[in-house]
């Protein structure tokens, strides 16, 4: 995308009545050039400031423990070692955490994204008594802080014998999520109803309308929700933290913490573990960011 963006001018200069182009005055042009240069400088500096803690994290993950607290600090690790990643893998139940996290993400996406699509379709494209009242209820749940119910949920899952497993975190997802339902519903609303009617005349039932008409036209919104969902589940902290105790059953996002409590603070291992945890979402965001922003813009989240 870098090569197609050459100019900052928002649109072609307005034309005069005779079709002649209105000339941009020289002063305005150079002022624009100055503004553009300033934009680059601020962006470069800003992204540098935001990236530094990360670069520091990467650096530390390749450093030997005894070199960590040198003054002045080493910019480039010397010696440059990979041992921390090996240690990290061997000291904690790291493989378990990754498997658990992947499991949670897959369950979460299967539940939240898919079910939210169904529910959003119901709200956007069908009529039934009480529909609007239920939708207001969805909006209200979005405002409800999830932590208010943590105590009764803990009690409930204890009664069910689900504590210290992935179920208290995964099962509630199988019923959709208010926020994703909202995003998808807003997007589905923007598609013309004639599409559904045409498909129904052709003999499609509601499920077929959803699968063959609505979903193919809603790819940006569905992709946005899927990305949100992936990141949300991968990084979920509070609920797994409260509901799961056994180290082997933790997810990666919670497990990282274990390095600190168990071994004092082994920064170099913590940093290595953090990098492993950040890597998948980084790759995803780098490639998805354009789709992602467009998806949010299209879904009209703001209203």
């Amino acid at each position: 995308m870098a090569n197609q963006t050459v100019t900052v001018e928002p649109a072609a200069p307005p034309r005069l009545a005779g079709g002649r182009r209105l000339r941009t005055p020289i002063g305005v042009r150079s002022a624009r050039g100055g503004l553009r240069l300033l934009t680059y400088l601020v962006l470069l500096f800003g992204s540098f400031v935001y990236a530094i803690p990360f670069l520091w994290m990467i650096r530390t993950s390749f450093m030997r423990l005894d070199k960590l607290f040198e003054d002045p600090p080493q910019i480039w690790p010397d010696p440059f070692i990979f041992q921390n990643y090996v240690d990290m893998w061997e000291t904690g139940p790291f493989a378990n955490w990754i498997v658990n996290s992947v499991y949670l993400v897959l369950l979460g996406m299967a539940g939240q994204t898919l079910i939210s699509i169904l529910v959003a379709f119901g709200f956007a494209r069908t009529q039934f008594p009480g529909r609007n009242q239920l939708f207001i209820l969805i909006l209200a749940t979005m405002m409800l802080p999830g932590h208010v119910t943590i105590v009764p949920k803990f009690v409930m899952f204890k009664q069910l014998g689900w504590l210290d497993s992935i179920w208290p975190v995964a099962v509630p997802d199988l019923f959709g999520s208010a926020f994703y339902i909202f995003i998808l519903r807003q997007f589905f609303m923007t598609l013309p109803l004639e599409l559904d009617e045409a498909a129904e005349i052709d003999g499609a039932n509601l499920l077929q309308v959803l699968m063959r008409v609505i979903i193919p036209l809603s790819k940006p919104a569905v992709a946005t929700v899927a990305v949100f969902n992936f990141i949300g589940k991968w990084n979920e902290f509070f609920e797994p933290f409260v509901f799961i105790q056994t180290p082997e059953k933790l997810t990666l996002a919670v497990g990282i913490r274990w390095f600190r409590t168990q071994y004092g603070t082994e920064f170099q291992m913590l940093m290595a573990a953090s990098i492993v945890s950040v890597a998948p979402v980084t790759v995803e965001i780098y490639f998805a960011q354009k789709q992602f922003v467009r998806g949010i813009a299209l879904t009209g989240i703001k209203s």
Binding site: I115, P129, H147, I181, I231, F237, V278, I285, V293, K302
Partner: protein, 320 residues
């Protein structure tokens, strides 16, 4: 509900058939689409919600009998007898007051820059967004280190402070600086708000800018008369979500400071967590949850009430 199970009656009488509630087959289908959410809502939101309200009037240690206390939990919380609770409310408000405006302004500015057509956009967006998609624990551990007396932040600050003869503070070890430290840390994760603004900017029709340009508006004029009014719905959304989210700040304090030093970063949710899952005072923790909920609800309602004065919805204007 048994009637809903009738599998596809012939097309001709589809509309005529009605189930026990007097709904047509089509309405029933629509309801069935929504049903999964409704079941989940009852089981995992509404049910626990009311149970937590009940628990907040009791004393219960998770085992043994539930003892009815009436308003006792609330009285000891609101009367100020529990000084740690008062401290946690103060700390949370302190955090919200600085965190929310800071994040809103920062992310607005960054999104504004990123909305310009610049080269290597994917790189900048990723750099600013990355911290927000990093697992909270990883962020917290990283900043635990950044905020050490000889950490990255002080390395940077000392460049300016050394000539003045002072050194950067011991962020996490001082009751004065621990909270500012956590707030600075929170400014690192502006990405989600930034993405919402970026999407908002892209939703502003270009012709408005062209019209403003023809009217002779400069950069500032365009920002004031086009960008800001058109962005008010997004600003409102981020303000509401930001306040709801920041009242529930938890991971940062749990990992970085563990509420310390001397309760200087003890947040409401952390205190709730300790009461519930460390001291096993389920009733008391529920009462704290309800006060937290009441505060958040109050803030949200106030914002919606005030919103009519400053939030501009295009749909409303054209309807007039």
């Amino acid at each position: 509900m048994g009637v809903t199970g009738v599998a596809g009656p012939p097309t001709g009488i589809k509309q005529a058939r009605r189930n026990a509630f007097g709904w047509t087959w089509k309405e029933t289908q629509g309801f069935l689409f929504v049903l999964p959410w409704l079941v989940g809502f009852v089981l995992f939101t509404a049910g626990p919600f009311f149970f937590s309200f009940f628990l907040s009037f009791t004393s219960w240690r998770l085992v043994g009998e539930i003892k009815w206390l009436g308003l006792e939990n609330y009285v000891s919380l609101i009367s100020g007898d529990d000084t740690r609770f008062v401290q946690s409310v103060y700390n949370t408000v302190y955090y919200v007051v600085f965190h929310v405006p800071g994040v809103l302004i920062l992310s607005f500015a960054i999104a504004g820059l990123l909305n310009r057509k610049v080269k290597a956009m994917a790189f900048y967006r990723t750099a600013f967004y990355l911290p927000s998609i990093t697992a909270g624990v990883a962020t917290a551990v990283l900043w635990y280190w950044v905020l050490q007396p000889e950490g990255l932040l002080n390395n940077f600050l000392n460049v300016f402070l050394k000539p003045l003869g002072v050194a950067g503070p011991n962020w996490l070890g001082s009751t004065t600086w621990a909270m500012p430290g956590l707030i600075i840390m929170s400014f690192w994760t502006v990405g989600t708000t930034m993405i919402l603004y970026l999407a908002g900017f892209q939703g502003i029709p270009q012709h408005l800018y062209e019209a403003a340009e023809i009217d002779g508006a400069g950069w500032l004029g365009k920002v004031r008369n086009v960008t800001l009014p058109m962005m008010t719905p997004t600003i409102f959304l981020t303000l509401v979500l930001g306040i709801i989210g920041s009242f529930q700040v938890f991971t940062a304090a749990l990992i970085v400071t563990e509420g310390g030093p001397a309760d200087a970063t003890l947040f409401l949710l952390l205190y709730l967590y300790w009461n519930g899952f460390r001291f096993f005072k389920m009733g008391y923790a529920s009462a704290i949850a309800w006060i937290l909920f009441a505060i958040i609800l109050f803030m949200t309602v106030v914002q919606f009430a005030v919103a009519k004065r400053w939030v501009y919805y295009e749909g409303e204007r054209s309807a007039r």
